[in-house]
Symmetry: C2
Subunit: 488 residues, 2 copies
């Protein structure tokens, strides 16, 4: 298949395409604009790119052939999985210079070993399918998130994905036992072997995890599986301060190694959800300033996590650490508690535009941060309303600043949000925190990363990028910008 | 303090020294050959280096000043902690071109937080002191090893140290929550903040862990503390094959999350220890080909891990998975079991010279590897005797090949060991394993690393080294060799 004569694809890309059409099956090369169109915009529809070519290899050898040809012809590649980046991390550049390298056809589950607690999944395996496959052999892959029906393994590893269940087993970084990737020169990094002890120099697996496809493309990963959940207890707790919530978390963690979730939200967030969901009811009668949703599981069907939760809560009530609490009496009630937590973002969005921040601070610093950062924002931006909720056990705050009543949306998003976000990010850095807890940097936070990081850190990131991708072909414009004329 | 006129220190080093003497207190600069001498040879006495200058900074700012000056004057630095490397990783080069950068005076415990389960220790804090400090606040730092009385935090992190207790909590990499380091240009990498979620690009902490001081010098680390052990059960088990041992390990892991050790040894290793230790007795009566030492702990003083161990062993005996077993009836008996395990290396050394290998394979592959690799060695090298023992749960095999009876030691160590080791390493690589499970590469395994690694991997290691240490001044000659004229 040769490139149509009337196409205005840039010459390097056209030669690249012609070369690939000689070595790959036709199915692997997509040039139909209608088929490419859905993959040119991020799912929040903030970033719009262009690409005349989308490559869909079927296996790692084909990925290697593509990457080698890209290096030869100098064509940038944008690795793409589910295209559900929250930071524009998988959208091609607007000038059409790059090709999309889609991993979606690589869906093979290469191995599944219940005894060893390991799965080896290709980059295109969807998270929901990984969950099902693990359950099929009597195991669980514990990480989950909203996009589980579309997010594939390659993207989850490349972005070190988090989600709502990382308190016990960690983010993807803690669940990856091995990585297979194609490096920018087309060489294969075979780091799949699940070694528990391996001291052979710089850890390339950890370098590729969270690199957002800028140092190569992940083609497969070995992933840890854990025992399935045999029983769970979910409770709703009303209390006075974030400090009390942290003290309660420490009591639960001292009593159990299986605290899976510990979510903290202010009174206003609960009120917003109750106003937003007509059939929702407040889980406890007390009108307390702060609320906690806690979930404890057990792998042992004979265990009774509800009894453990009741014991800890009874003691906390006795000590006046908490004001009220209720343990879900059924799975339906547990789901109703979780529905409140999961509706906060939608409920707050319904009250007007807001600047949302995916940030983290050390767990010990989070209670103070939630209170002081909200007060600092309210003082700095009169009329706006700041509040935080989130995963206390992870130090991960969802920090929202709502626009002043009657704010013009265009002015808000165009002028005010960048100012508000820079202010919030400065507070985060001052608290020893991160301006990206789980979404990564992509295009959206590239400027803020450079602004809030030390020259030492930015210098190291740029040096690593140049070292492993000297032609700067992998996921251009994401994470770290390297001007070819830069001197470190 | 100026450099004595009659000294033959090379000119760059002399200028470097003069510069430092103007900015550092005299205590920080050691030039007395007698004081430097103990630090010029590794503790196995295999590598002899030379240095006319040893620098002992008192804090991170002084380290930065030293590193900046080293970059200016082009003086290589050899970071050094306890000098207990097993691979010559901290010995300066023989030509005297480098200065030793000792972290031993930086012994401050900056923070100790029992609630958060975190300690922040400077690079010079000795492991035994860290253990004590953690216990003092009612917590435990779980990693331990033979050199705990001399190995400091900086070296432990730089080498990703392992040891006998990594089954449950992992190697140093799993216990490090943050890293502070001085990069080769003198800039500070401040990665100490213990964030559970942080997606701001390439993970520099993980890159520095296990880099053996070749990318900068670690000055402090945030370390995770875990609950103290309230109760333990130690058992000795006799069984037929390594496969049976792995099946037993899986049963224990299904029953408990607190399997701390699972050591596998062959009949010959036990016999060697019984011959070597006059007062030692076989823990079980059965003369089985393989033996296991298992330790299970519990954080809860009310728990009874011995009952759990007894239940699992009774079922295994009933199913004929094992031949005999005994649970230590006292701490003294538990210690006696451990003494057998810990005496294997000395006992085997007493039977004559041996080539020892610190290797690992995937846990599932270890039973087969132990049997087949020993048989392959015995077939390839008639008269020699190969056997493996080690940490089954980690896939970490101590694989020894003993010299043929009456072998000439000089010929053995000079000519035969390299051939034997290359043969063993090839078997390890074929099994998807690592030629360095825990000791690192240093100078000793640099050639074998290059020989057994893919060009992709070696290219990436060299590119990273050049990117972060473009003057090639940090720990020269260790881990990866980069010829200044190399083109990747």
């Amino acid at each position: 298949m040769n490139w149509p004569q009337d196409n205005d694809m840039i010459p390097a890309l056209a030669r690249f395409h012609d070369h690939l059409s000689g070595i790959l099956p036709p199915r692997a090369l997509v040039t139909d604009p209608e088929l490419i169109a859905p993959w040119l915009v991020d799912w929040r529809r903030r970033y719009h790119g262009h690409a005349d070519l989308m490559i869909e290899p079927a296996d790692t050898a084909q990925v290697q052939a593509v990457v080698r040809a890209a290096a030869t012809y100098g064509v940038p590649l944008v690795p793409q999985g589910g295209n559900s980046s929250m930071v524009g991390g998988a959208t091609p550049p607007a000038d059409g210079s790059a090709a999309i390298l889609s991993l979606r056809r690589m869906k093979r589950m290469r191995a599944l070993d219940a005894d060893a607690g390991l799965a080896v999944a290709e980059a295109g395996v969807i998270l929901a399918d990984l969950h099902d496959a693990a359950l099929y052999v009597g195991r669980r892959f514990p990480l989950t998130l909203g996009a589980r029906g579309s997010a594939p393994v390659g993207g989850l590893v490349s972005t070190n994905a988090g989600g709502t269940q990382v308190l016990r087993f960690g983010t993807m970084r803690g669940l990856v036992a091995g990585v297979e990737a194609v490096l920018p020169d087309g060489a294969l990094h075979d780091g799949l072997s699940p070694l528990k002890k391996d001291n052979r120099g710089y850890d390339l697996n950890h370098l590729l995890i969270g690199a957002e496809g800028t140092l190569g493309v992940i083609t497969a990963a070995a992933l840890r599986l854990v025992p399935t959940v045999a029983a769970r207890a979910v409770a709703w707790v009303a209390l006075g301060t974030p400090d009390d919530a942290l003290a309660l978390l420490r009591r639960f963690q001292a009593a159990s190694e299986a605290v899976e979730s510990f979510e903290l939200l202010p009174r206003e967030s609960l009120a917003a959800v109750l106003a937003y969901l007509p059939d929702a009811r407040a889980p406890v009668a007390a009108d307390a300033p702060w609320h906690v949703l806690v979930e404890i599981t057990d792998d042992d069907p004979a265990a009774n996590p509800a009894a453990l939760v009741e014991r800890v809560l009874a003691a906390a009530l006795h000590d006046a650490l908490i004001r009220d609490a209720t343990i879900a009496a059924s799975e339906a009630q547990a789901d109703a508690f979780w529905r409140i937590r999961e509706s906060i973002s939608d409920a707050e969005r319904a009250t007007g535009p807001a600047a949302q921040h995916d940030i983290s601070v050390p767990v010990e610093a989070m209670p103070r941060f939630m209170v002081e950062a909200a007060a600092a924002c309210d003082a700095r931006f009169p009329g706006m309303r700041a509040s935080g909720f989130g995963h206390l056990g992870d130090g991960n705050v969802h920090f929202h600043v709502r626009a002043a009543r009657g704010a013009d949306p265009a002015y808000w998003y165009g002028e005010q949000v960048p100012v508000v976000s820079a202010f919030v990010h400065d507070l985060v850095i001052a608290a020893g925190g991160s301006i990206s807890a789980e979404h990564g940097i992509g295009q959206m936070k590239r400027g803020e990363l450079a602004r809030t990081s030390s020259p030492a850190r930015m210098g190291a990131l740029r040096a690593i990028k140049r070292a492993l991708d000297p032609q700067l072909l992998f996921n251009p414009g994401k994470l770290v910008s390297v001007d070819p004329s830069d001197v470190r």
